[in-house]
Amino acid sequence: MHGARDFWKRFSRNKGAVVGLAILVLVLATAIFGPLLFPTSPWEMTGAPFQRPFDPEFPLGTDTLGRDVLSGIVHGARVSLLIGFVATLVAVIVGVILGALAGYYGGIIDDLLMRFTEFFQTIPSFVFAVVLVAIFTPSIASIVAAIAIVSWPAVARLVRGEFLTLRTREFVQASVVLGQPARHIIFVEILPNAVSPIIVAGSLMVATAILTESSLSFLGLGDPNLMSWGFMIGAARTVIRTAWWMSFFPGLAILLTVLALNLVGEGLNDALNPRLSREGR
């Protein structure tokens, strides 16, 4: 309890983080409860096409087929967050395992794993994601997989770094001397001590994942059965001259969500890593 209060104190010192958290809670609430308020499918052509916004029936206007833009944004929140979180989770799991193995064992295993990681880091990541999704045809699974594949190397390097330092600590050395199995040492002894930077990196990665998903959808590589923000902007790209609202509002939704995640990530960094934050790596 005491820890939690301390944590909040440090977190709330960062005003931006508090604002970010508020926005994030709002977005999460929209994702969870929004579809209850807008039970109609966001694909339903409920109005006339090209209706301008600020109309009592369609506050954010309608799109080229007469679909409600507001409803699309509300339903899209769920898709964007889901893809962002799941892709990050997968990337973190893969990254933690590979990074932990490399950092714990060192030597040739470390060398091989890091060459492997570097290889994936060298490939232009967005180009790679585009190819993966295009080849395995766009679906929520292929999108999540593609984002995870281009994101895990950063986690692996981070975790490896943490493990390299923690590996030399006394309590770890003690476990090794006591003959504890490697699996135990990695997951029970070392990993919990490396959790803070992973959480911080993870929260920032969710933001990046959402941006990547929206770019893919924008290029027409989204899941065709899911309404997402990137899809809305991509579909409205060609009508930008006549219908600004179709791309403006979904873009704003992405902006706010990603901004909120970044701010929260920074707040977490301040709260979890009281030592100097490592900017930009």
Binding site: I123, V130, V131, A134, T137, L219, I254, N262, E279
Partner: protein, 325 residues
Amino acid sequence: MQRLQFIAQRVLKGVVVLLGIIVLNFVLVRLAPGDPATVMAGEAGAADELFLQQLRKEFGLDKPLHEQLVVYVKNVVTLDLGFSYRQQRPVSDLLMERAPATLLLTGAAFVLSLVVGVALGVFASMLVGRWSDSLITVFALFFYATPIFWVGLMGVLLFSVTLGWLPSFGMYTVGANLKGAALAFDVSRHLVLPALTLALFHMAVYARMTRASMLEMKDQDFVRTARAKGLPESRIVRVHILRNAVLPVITIAGVKAGYLIGGSIVVETVFAWPGIGRLAFEAVLQRDYNVLLGVFFLTSFMVIAFNLITDVVYSLIDPRIELGA
């Protein structure tokens, strides 16, 4: 000697990675469903088996995969990137045609993001806590969070549709047939929006990085010493802080230059910029195997080259770098 060894090592590593990329991309694309012969035949308006076989034979699609791979690697090494059956032309020609446009776009965006980003970062660090610092910080936060294609579209909306200041697409004015200085001016007008769009995200990154790095440097011992010696503040900033703070930013920028090429797919799509990014997207959608492999090879090559140059330049500027790391 040590430096040469270092450079040789880096080049070797680059080559290995490049080979790996060739193999990876080849395997990936061939794994994909879809028979390219069907597409070609479909475009011809009809497709019978005889015609399909003719096409497969013509483009070597009837050989076993490993043979296709061996041939491909051999060809790439001799800079023969194959033939695009969709465009009926050698892939290397297609890439060479599109490369200048992309280099112009990414080059402009790179310089713009680095110069303006660093300048904003330095500026903000000198005015910590003032409103202009806050403004720059908020600017950076926003562009760090904005999808690049949306920035582009909003730019089009504001500067092309509403204000009518800048063209919204392409690299030249259609049908104008300009020459010389007029052409250069025309292209630069077309370049402004896409380059700015591509640069803004990275500008935000570099501004934040520079600001943080500057603030960190201010508290370093050598700066305090300089201050104690009574050196004027402007000189301290210029000579001591700036150099040391900006160097790591430039390194990161070199490494991140590869991301600009990724971003160029989206930006070139938004602005109909006739470069490699758009070629890549067209190739992906049309499943033009050889073009796709060619684009990958080229973009990866560019990224590796960029990293190599950064490494080398950095080793020249900063003698403290651990060679061989």
